[in-house]
Amino acid sequence: MSEKVKVTIDGITVEVEPGTTILNAARQIGGDIVPPAMCYYSKLEGSGGKCRTCIVKVSKGSEKDPRPMPKLVASCRTTVMDGMEVQNITSPEVMEARAGVVEILLINHPLDCPVCDQAGECDLQNLGYEHGLQKTRYEFERRTFERIDIGDKIQLHMNRCILCYRCVFTADQITNKRVHGILNRGDHSEISTYIQTAVDNDFSGNVIDVCPVGALTDKTFRFKNRVWFTKPVDAHRDCPTCSGKVTLWYKGADVLRVTARKDIYGEVEEFICNTCRFEKKKTDDWVLEHPTHISDASVISSNHYETMIPLPVIQENLRLQEANKVELEKTAKF
């Protein structure tokens, strides 16, 4: 067993396994010092390094070689060394550079949040809110792509894409056949299938969950509701294809959307299959567990849980209410 290495991030020291990246070491500490990640995804091999939002300053390389690293580094792809000292939010240089990356990610973004289904759970929106400028210095027409249809399950809005490559890694690593990829080069790069074909196999829906922006959204949920008006509930079912552990997004008694469960960094806990995601949209299909924990900082949590107890299904079902009267009163008091 190899010995753990010590790394200090923004003054907080943590011991981690050798080979851990700075980002993952920061996630072990948790809280505000965790760099944001738009392209890195811990469940996808080879991801990261591209978006540059997670850049940090290494002010001391290691105990053995204390020289600082000459440039800011992508924390998601830089492994820690024993004695390394890293600055993230305590470095003005990092904050300035990150604000620069955010500005650059937004120059060609359509900013169509008012009509985007991702709004409210969009990493770019959060990032823009935290680091963005009030207005852009970009005075040219924004880049647009021809709309393409990739099937009846997944909606592709290329104009919103930040080219994180996560969906490509997902298709390569989670599904059995990749039919979409990155075409062209430079700022003309686009997600496409090239010839008209549907992105459709047992696990293809996961590209929706990994997409940090509104480039890939659930067509079956399209324009149905704003996510902050829907109420997430963790549920499971006995699924022969996947773990069956999901989050159901309710509006009233209707399940509008099914997604995988996500952790505090927005990553899915377990990938789910398309049957669970697209075809099981009745409460009867599921065993409900509890309301999903949503961070206080999220707009989704703003007006939820007072009406989540009892669950909407129970609220509308008098027989259930009658049968569980005592229990329901207890919870209401609590």
Binding site: E146, I148, D149, L183, R185, T193, Y194
Partner: protein, 170 residues
Amino acid sequence: MLKVEEQQPVEFSPALITKFDEISSRYPEGKQKSALLPMLHEVQAELGWLSAAAMDKVADYLKIEPIEVYEVASFYSMYFLKPQGKYTLEVCRTGPCCLVGAEKVMDHIEQTLGVKEGEVTADGLFSWRGVECLAACGFGPVLQIGPEYTFYENLDEQKVDTLIAELRKK
């Protein structure tokens, strides 16, 4: 995006397949995907451009997914994903060539051929485009014509006229 119904089937000549075999023998076993770029050059030399059907056949030969071929073909600037003129004049438009008159040469080609960059003349003979540095800066302005990428150096309007006249006669 291409519609499926627009696809035209293609046939590769036996000579091309033999060439494929020779190319893929250059790489260690299991690494035949390395043959992709040279194979696409060969296909383009034979067919003039890379249709989706042609790329699918290449994918089939290399036992890779078609999207892997589309991704590669669209990344590199030399592969034509649309039909071109029989002769595509590719003029270097980068700094050093512009210092010695590349822009004039391009204007002249546009006027002489009567088509804009990227378009094909009505007779199907010519198309032209500006390309980035061709690494012949000391001999500029330069242009090249595929599939063997024959080079024409120290160009001026007169030399372009002569070249176009010669190509027409061929």
